[in-house]
């Protein structure tokens, strides 16, 4: 969905940035948004500073959006893992380059 929407907005993206933030993703504000997720999840960075960066770069409404989407995917990820909903083979084939570049095969061990 990231790739399809980036194409729709005519962004030239490198999806490798989802696994490696040192890479420029190519979506406006993506560094601030990735930093926000990392900080709120306790991976790296100060949450308050990350929120301020999102507000400064994208606006206060963007912070509300980012927090809401983050919360929703905290839920979606858990439902997906606990119910074991399978990933369609066609989707795997279609996204094989992205799966390879992000090293996502290791996430399929339980599917």
């Amino acid at each position: 969905m990231l790739r399809a929407s980036a194409i729709a907005f005519e962004y030239q993206i490198d999806t490798g940035a989802i696994a490696d933030p040192s890479i420029d993703l190519g979506v406006p504000g993506s560094t601030a948004l990735i930093g926000f997720v990392d900080a709120v999840m306790g991976v790296s960075g100060d949450p308050e500073a990350a929120r301020r960066t999102v507000i400064d770069e994208l606006g206060p409404e963007a912070l509300v959006d980012a927090a809401s989407v983050f919360g929703n995917f905290e839920m979606m990820n858990r439902v997906a893992e606990a119910t074991g909903i399978p990933v369609a083979g066609a989707a795997l084939e279609r996204e094989s380059i992205t799966v390879e570049s992000l090293g996502l095969h290791r996430f399929l061990k339980r599917s």
Binding site: M1, L2, A4, S5, A6, I7, A8, F9, Y11, T15, I18, A19, V27, P28, G29, S30, L33, I34, F36, V37, D38, V40, M41, P47, R51, L58, G59, E61, A62, L63, V64, D65, A66, A67, S68, V69, F70, G71, N72, F73, E74, M75, M76, N77, R78, V79, A80, E81, A82, T83, G84, I85, P86, V87, L102, R106, F107, L108, R110, S111
Partner: protein, 155 residues
């Protein structure tokens, strides 16, 4: 966790704190011990709570206290005739929004969060969806992708 069996407690604890550790063995153990509806109810409550808590954490707000338990029997509203198929719990055929529909009330609560917190079904069909002011679809998917990456959730 008064009245909650050990395997169900392990499922709830792992799902909230370490979702990447949740697998079929853990879910099936809880379902075998307590029944599929009970396991699905725990999955729903913990997952929805994660959405609420996650949004609060994102905004830097204090977490809401849990409500007091309501005394009384379960509603007993359970969809009949569902099978596990390839999933860990019984569910109707269809995409992820329907996976908790063994319990229609929990399924409806899960689905009700999509629009306000992410996008409605109609909005999801638009790759060019955007909120003004707010994030556009690509920026929304940056947040969803990075969150899923840290949770090690392929789906």
């Amino acid at each position: 966790m008064v009245g909650m069996g050990q395997t169900l407690g392990e499922l709830a604890d792992s799902l909230y704190h370490r979702p990447k550790d949740v697998d079929e063995t853990l879910v099936r153990a809880a379902a075998d011990a307590e029944g599929d509806p009970t396991a699905v109810e725990v999955i729903a409550i913990v997952s929805i709570l994660s959405a609420i808590d996650g949004t609060h954490r994102g905004l830097g707000a204090d977490l809401e206290p849990l409500p007091e338990p309501i005394v009384g029997p379960p509603t007993g509203v359970i969809t009949e005739g569902l099978k596990r198929r390839r999933l860990h719990v019984p569910a109707p055929p269809g995409p992820i929004p329907f996976t908790l529909d063994l319990l229609p009330d929990e399924g409806a609560a899960f689905q009700a969060l999509f629009g306000p917190q992410y996008m409605t079904g109609w909005e999801m069909a638009l790759d060019t969806f955007f909120r003004e002011p707010g994030l556009n679809r690509a920026q929304i998917e940056v947040v969803s992708s990075r969150t899923s990456f840290h949770n090690e959730c392929f789906y």
